[in-house]
Amino acid sequence: MADTMQFDLVAPERKLASEEAAVEVMVPGADGDLTVMPGHAPMLTTLRPGKLTMVTRSETQSYAVTGGFAEITPEGITVLAERSLPAEEFTKEVHDRLIEEARRVHDEAHPSVADMTAKLLADMEALGSHMLS
């Protein structure tokens, strides 16, 4: 079995990252964080707002993602993120804006989806403590 895998992070507007030799990738899955390593069983998962970390032999790179989904195969992982940016570019201002947006969505939301938007808001807030610390 190969000990590295392909990692792709794509946003609707551009491809953000592509790495051939990822050793492990930590993904904020909708049902909880998971770490993907080479040879992982094929799976599809949606993402919640959170921190995505990719580790190669030589470096570790983190990204903030606000949602999307990941397609995992034994050979690699493709993350399709709605919005995503490298950890270095994730500042307090960006975070505040995201929270504000999530709050607005929550405030305007129909009661039937209020639970969902409340979770989104909470995830957004938690995102800050993961990314900014």
């Binding site: 794509v10 609707p12 799976m43 599809l44 998962t45 195969t73």
Partner: protein
Amino acid sequence: MPSLKDLKNRIGSVKNTRKITKAMQMVAAAKLRRAQEAAEAARPYAERMHSVMAGLASSVQGRDNAPRLLSGTGSDKVQLLVVMTAERGLCGGFNANIAKLARQTAEKLLAEGKEVKILTVGKKGRDALRREYGQYFIGHVDLSDVKRLSYDDAQKIARDLIGRFDNGEFDVATIFFSIFESVIAQRPTAKQIIPASYEPEEGEETPSVNYDYEPSETQILEDLLPRGVATQIFTALLENGASEQGARMSAMDSATRNAGDMIDKLTIEYNRTRQAAITKELIEIISGAEAL
């Protein structure tokens, strides 16, 4: 017979027009490159999305609890046409071709006794269709302030569409836009986006891998379908943007060339007229001298 002065003015104004069309052509060329880059950059996401959706859709197809965005309402009575055109003209047949395709489709649907609703994106399409189909208009999306198309713009349109779909305002939605093939060829296209039809592309095999789904398959699908709609709209907007600039570029190129031809013709006429005036004066002098 126009006087020398008229001709001179005429040549001057055509020269100015040529300057303008030349400038517009160069601006369009620069914008085209950017639009193409944007379309190129968006492709990996759209392709991935498509293949994942195709796999998911085929596995859920036929089940009773399939989401309505995929299976439809079971009727095709009310048809929504989303006509995407440019905000500005002077780009050859670009807007007219899209409007024509939309008009033909509307015509056909009405003849079949369907109900037609029209949502326009871009001012030119609205203007072109207003006279005949004004009563079917249900909305308009204005993108004239948008300098660079972003995914958010597409998402807004998608949200609007899905909201209307959930309210039962229509059964089937089709988008009309132009696919960019080359600078001289843009193909007006109609594509059904709701209910979503994900046909595996030619030569592409449906992934036979059995995925684990987290959360459940249906939940993922419900989460992804609206994104799929947004992605398709985004792709269409980008294709349209590139097409518009391509069409404008070739339209302005031929306008520049026409202006050049016209200047040549006018210059010849100007020279002839001038020569004729000189000859006439000479004749007058000579015949005056002879008469003495």
